[in-house]
Symmetry: C2
Subunit: 362 residues, 2 copies
């Protein structure tokens, strides 16, 4: 059996959980849900399935020290820092290069660093099935998440014919990847029963993803090949990345490959999943008081309901008569946001980027 | 002409402006409106009318150091600390004792420490008229504030017959003092044209207020007489207060004297006046942005309107999509309160009093 690897993508700018998250400390480095950073939980979730030396993390230079600290169980050299962000296709390509160095026949999973999955056993069973499928067939395997609502914030994939049963459940061909739909379209997807959410979790053999990159993004593949040759010639990884990475095509793996490839397959999730993309999403994972307030840190709530309050130890937040707010207090910045405007936190952070006096808060 | 004195009452618990105000730093020690503490502004407003050595401040032990610092122009011994609060009748009685020591024939004004009056010249003209009236007649003079709305938060006084003209305007007898009315009653008061707000600003001769206290609160008067004798015997003021003050009857000057006396007079205000009893009241004194937000300190407002935001220098408050909030951030506590619930901040502070872990925030 080939070696199995997992490459965790731990980039992200930490905008949606500002001011708790920052550019240098985005969501995957914070215990947004649970008691340890989301990245740490992601690594822990693989225990027993993939050995630590086969788990790599791709992050960026700003975060590399904190990321290394968050994954003490991994070999230090398994934390890779991109010199600049080049979107997910380049990260997948880099992952393929790095895994190929270790084992050209390997199969590897790409996983996001910051999703919430409580059911570790269920997750491992599905990832095991995805590994098996990728080992048996020349396919790009996506773990498809069973949708629970007509979400407009995710891309979808449509199941096609059954390829084969793995264990007691079928793996499917994927008919197509589709981008984030509008609500009406999402409702038809949900009703049809054959659409799944694309959670950005992929499994493939090195050779299969390499071939897909060569076919669908030849420029990117060429850049990756150059890096591979430099590494084979003995140049240090950081030097190779510094010289070549910024020149790679910047495109997402969905656009570059998944929407075009005709050899995409899926195994369906049978575990809880949440990408917790916002403060309201994170709040679903915490108990609320009898007025619906979710409170972390020190706070006093009076005649207040349905608020999310994230405070600090020893610094009081007092909420009086307020409803449906997000209140987040840190040492140097406090956010007060209407709950239904959480999606605008990102643009607020971008506005701060333009104000030199507040750049240090990003 | 007799000597004129002003005694400023600077007590207060600082509840309504929590968390900026604290028990040890209530409203009169803060620049709630303007650039200096309200008490400092109150003293400055008397410049030219009453000499500094004739201005006394009555405060409490917790605040005495800060109060002394806030009134550097006054002799140190003119700042008096009550060992315990005994409400305003005792403070008036203490003021009478202290002024009498300096000049038994003196006339003195009692003024609150924390009101906003921008029109200094207008205020001085009215206070001058009140002094003149108190010097000429055996009356308890109240400065009556011309009401501008049917306020239910103030007591009222009803004008009676004209006593005499002082300068170009009449002074009136007061028919009666009335407690805070309900809205319907307040509306009839406003419509009648002969009701004024009781702002707690009084002027009287030492002998006249002494006689009123003797007549209407004989127990309190007896206690005050004992203190007077002890002082005359050479005992230090602090010792006398320590021994006797806690034993004085605890009652307001309105209940004890003003509502009962038949020799109350009034001169009407002809200056702006605001007791700024809440965050919303204070916000009226600051310019608002084009969405109605009043912001002090560092803040970024996005799609936010009609908020009052009180921040700190160098610590950002970001308000996103919120309306009608009061947001006040200090080093150790942050308040987020619906604007129309500002009157409940006081009860919130009382609740914190019952929670030992937050007592240090009071």
């Amino acid at each position: 059996m080939s070696n199995r690897f997992v490459v965790i993508m731990a980039g992200g700018r930490g905008e949606r959980f500002w001011p708790l998250s920052r550019l240098s400390r985005p969501k995957h480095l914070l215990p947004i849900v649970g008691d340890s950073p989301m990245l740490t939980q992601t690594v822990d979730r693989l225990a027993g399935l993939v050995p630590a030396q086969n788990i790599l993390v791709i992050t960026n230079r700003e975060q590399v020290a904190a990321v290394t600290e968050a994954v003490p169980s991994l070999p230090r050299e398994n934390v890779i820092a991109e010199p600049v962000g080049r979107d997910t296709a380049a990260a997948v390509g880099l992952a393929a290069v790095l895994v190929k160095q270790r084992d050209p026949e390997a199969v590897f999973a790409m996983l996001p660093a910051d999703h919430v999955i409580h059911d570790r056993a269920g997750f491992q069973r599905i990832l095991e099935r995805a590994f098996l499928l990728a080992e048996r067939r020349d396919v790009l395997v996506t773990i498809g998440i069973q949708p629970t609502e007509p979400a407009t914030g995710y891309g979808y994939l449509q199941r096609g014919e059954i390829l084969e049963n793995i264990g007691d459940r079928p793996a499917y061909a994927v008919r197509r990847f589709v981008e984030k739909p509008d609500l009406a379209t999402a409702e038809t997807y949900l009703a049809s029963g054959d659409f799944l959410w694309n959670a950005g979790m992929f499994v493939w053999r090195v050779g299969v993803i390499e071939a897909a990159l060569r076919r669908h993004t030849p420029d990117l593949a060429k850049g990756l090949r150059g890096m591979e040759n430099d590494l084979a010639a003995g140049r240090p990884l950081d030097d190779v990345l510094e010289a070549a990475y910024a020149g790679l095509q910047k495109i997402s793996i969905d656009y570059a490959v998944m929407e075009k490839a005709d050899n995409v397959a899926t195994v369906e999730s049978a575990f809880d999943w949440d990408d917790v993309g916002s403060w309201p999403a994170s709040a679903r994972h915490f108990p609320a008081d009898d007025r619906g307030n979710v409170v972390r840190g020190d706070a006093v709530m009076e005649n207040a309901g349905n608020n999310i309050v994230i405070g600090q130890k020893g610094k009081l937040i007092a909420a009086l008569g307020v409803e449906d707010l997000i209140i987040v207090q840190t040492g140097d910045a406090t956010l007060v946001c209407r709950r239904d405007q959480a999606q605008n936190i990102k643009s607020l952070v971008k506005r701060l980027e333009g104000q030199s006096e507040w750049k240090h808060l990003l």
